[in-house]
């Protein structure tokens, strides 16, 4: 539960979009730490193609700057800045898919540079990557590549689903002295949620139980947290109480919260927008089977997008994203056991 906003009644709570929550986090941290710099394609005077850096160039001047279209250099330069100890870079890749262009820099360099060189340097880099199917962007502007990096030592992976989480996690990520890949689902930019006024941080590696329930555990990330919560409401009407868990960070992964829930419910469904094969759900399912196989009443189920490229067609696109109906069908199947 979002404990801070609910328990501290004296804190004023506003309703913000996730975009505004992200801008607020960036602005607060850049104000707090003059060594922070933010850069990427069109992030300056234009404010980012998704508007997620709007107003920051006006506020922070040359500390927020536009770069050439050069993802390889954007990430490499961030590393080169960070290891001097004099700059805390917050680079952006315009679309998360473009991480493919900078794969060497993210996979081999950001995550491994410190270790490879004997632990002598620190890498305080927060790389922001917009992800997800969002209105006909096609096969190379719609993907959710975060699971690839669960296989890369040294990288921390954040995937927020609400404005509250987005702000608290981003502030923590920026203060981290280790690299963080911060994946923002593009559909969530306009989604509104409660964000308290004033300072708060959310630790990396702490899952959030978005809804409590005793019958089935649904583990979901990014936009799918909301699909899962919608499904949980429908299920409640049928007398099935679903617990919805958002890991919030895939690395570190809070298996304690997940396993506690699995032990309670005995039934697990993992939902994400990434392709099912090799998605983050595969790792989570494997860990559950390693640690809680005999607490299970039914096989672990996963819903992901199909293992084919994402079509440009807006009509076809809707069939990739896991739907509430798919979740209902699988949960009903799980309840048969």
């Amino acid at each position: 539960m979002n404990t801070i906003s609910r328990q501290e009644s004296n804190v004023k709570v506003r309703t913000l979009t996730m975009r505004d929550a992200i801008i607020e986090a960036l602005s607060e941290e850049m104000e707090r730490d003059p060594s922070t710099v933010l850069f990427g394609e069109d992030v300056g005077k234009f404010g980012g193609v998704f508007g997620a850096t709007k107003g920051l160039h006006e506020k922070f001047g040359p500390r927020v700057f536009d770069t050439p279209i050069a993802e390889t250099t954007i990430v490499a330069a961030a590393l080169g800045m960070a290891i001097t100890g004099n700059v805390r870079p917050i680079p952006e890749l315009q679309f998360g898919d473009f991480v493919g262009v900078a794969f060497d820099e993210v996979f081999h360099k950001l995550g491994k540079w410190r270790w490879m060189h004997g632990g002598q340097m620190e890498i305080p880099v927060t790389l922001r990557l917009p992800i997800g199917i969002a209105g006909g962007a096609g096969p190379e502007h719609s993907q959710s590549p975060q699971a690839l990096f669960m296989h890369g030592p040294g990288l921390q992976i954040v995937v927020p689903s609400t404005p509250y989480d987005a702000k608290g996690l981003l502030k923590t990520a920026i203060r981290e002295n280790n690299p963080v890949l911060y994946f923002e689902h593009k559909v969530l930019y306009d989604m509104k949620g409660e964000v308290p006024e004033g300072e708060y941080l959310i630790p990396l590696g702490k899952a959030d139980i978005k809804r409590e329930g005793k019958d089935v555990t649904i583990i979901a990330t990014a936009l799918q947290v909301h699909t899962a919560l919608d499904a949980a409401k429908t299920l409640a009407k049928q007398g099935v109480e679903a617990e919805v868990i958002d890991p919030r960070t895939l690395a570190p992964l809070d298996m304690d919260t997940i396993l506690d829930s699995v032990k309670k419910t005995g039934r697990v469904l993992i939902v994400h927008e990434e392709p099912k094969t090799g998605g983050s759900g595969a790792e989570i399912a494997a860990r559950i089977s390693e640690h809680a196989l005999f607490d299970l009443l039914a096989p672990i189920k996963r819903i992901g997008s199909p293992d084919v490229p994402i079509a440009q067609s807006i009509y076809l696109e809707q069939f990739y994203r896991p739907s509430e109906q798919q979740i209902l069908d699988v949960v009903n199947e799980l309840m048969e056991y």
């Binding site: 080169g80 632990g119 340097m121």
Partner: protein, 334 residues
């Protein structure tokens, strides 16, 4: 087209101490390399070593009197030459090869690549050859951002120059006027491929820099004093905030790409010519003696001192223990 860097470099115009520092550095690099090859032949170190013998003048000339410990370098795949010139203790370099805890990686082991000494501005190197070209612009940006006059020097071979990051890097460095000096160590071969088979250039690799508006020249990298002079201009430009410079330094490797490489893809006569007539140490030594800067005895004395230093460094590195197996789990995160 890139200009060939030329300048009158009579050794009589420099102090004896100044010149002997070049000599000592070059001897240290060569003796270190020979010591390492012995360790490889003794089966103590793997053959994944890229000998820098024959190119010592390029590193000694560019670093010894131009850079301080505060300046940053990214070394190349024959980078022990640059690390030694930048002052990384020899025992630590041997320790990385031997995998003992004396190494800069404290036992993780490193070939040429992955040893680092941030206290001396040696910021490491990428195993994916040429990736340092992207990283170096960030480091140079940091100096500009902080308002220091630190220079970032990035070394890379002709082979690495063909990789994509060079072009992203030159564009940024030129665009943001970053204090970077690019040193392309052109020894003509990327493993077995000759530069003429792999690079589309007008005449020189340095010509590429011209298109980015970056001052550039080609220099004889085996002439240590000439290399020093060319580098001095580039470093001055960077310190004054006038942006990057691209230096293509011509050299040739005396040995194969790795120890065990038959090295039969080069023309034996060409190799002989470089070894006999263009050896940077041999030629510099001859010019020192000819100009009467120092005596044969002084030369011999420097060589003996370096030999003692090398022997002690190997002993220190070999005597240090291997790490515990838990070492691999340390230091992934700060």
């Amino acid at each position: 087209m890139a200009k060939i860097y030329q300048k009158e470099t009579n050794v009589k115009n420099y102090s004896k101490d100044f010149l002997l520092q070049f000599y000592r550095t070059m001897i240290k690099i060569r003796r270190f390399d020979e010591g390492l090859i012995q360790l490889i032949q003794d089966g103590k170190v793997s053959g994944f070593y890229h000998s820098g013998i024959g190119s010592e003048g390029l590193s000694a000339g560019s670093i010894t009197h131009n850079l301080t410990e505060d300046d940053y370098i990214y070394y190349n795949h024959r980078g022990c030459n640059q690390k030694i010139a930048k002052g990384v203790p020899l025992s630590k370099l041997y320790g990385d090869f031997l995998g003992t805890i004396e190494g800069t990686t404290k036992g993780l082991g490193a070939g040429i690549v992955h040893s680092a000494d941030p206290s001396r501005g040696v910021m490491g190197q990428a195993g994916t050859i040429g990736s340092q070209l992207g990283i170096c612009v960030g480091t140079a940006f940091a100096s500009k951002f902080k308002g220091t006059d630190q220079v970032t020097v990035v070394y890379f071979g002709d082979g690495a120059a063909s990789r994509e990051p060079l072009h992203g890097s030159l564009n940024w460095a030129g665009l943001y006027k970053l204090p970077v000096v690019y040193i392309c160590e052109n020894n003509e071969y990327a493993i077995s491929s000759h530069v003429s088979e792999t690079h589309s250039v007008k005449e020189h690799i340095a010509d590429w820099a011209e298109g980015y508006g970056i001052p550039n020249y080609v220099v004889d990298g085996n002439d240590v004093v000439l290399m020093h002079e060319a580098m001095k201009e580039a470093v001055d430009r960077a310190r004054k905030g006038e942006g990057p410079t691209f230096i293509e330094a011509k050299t040739f490797r005396h040995r194969g790409h790795f120890e065990g490489d038959p090295y039969d893809y080069v023309d034996a006569n060409v190799l002989k010519e470089w070894k006999e007539k263009r050896d940077p140490i041999k030629n510099f030594q001859a010019s020192l003696l000819e100009a009467g800067v120092c005596t044969e005895n002084e030369i011999a004395s420097i060589q003996e001192q370096v030999d003692v230093e090398i022997e002690a460094a190997i002993k220190k590195a070999e005597d240090a223990p291997m790490p515990s197996p838990e070492r691999i789990f340390e230091g992934l995160f700060a």
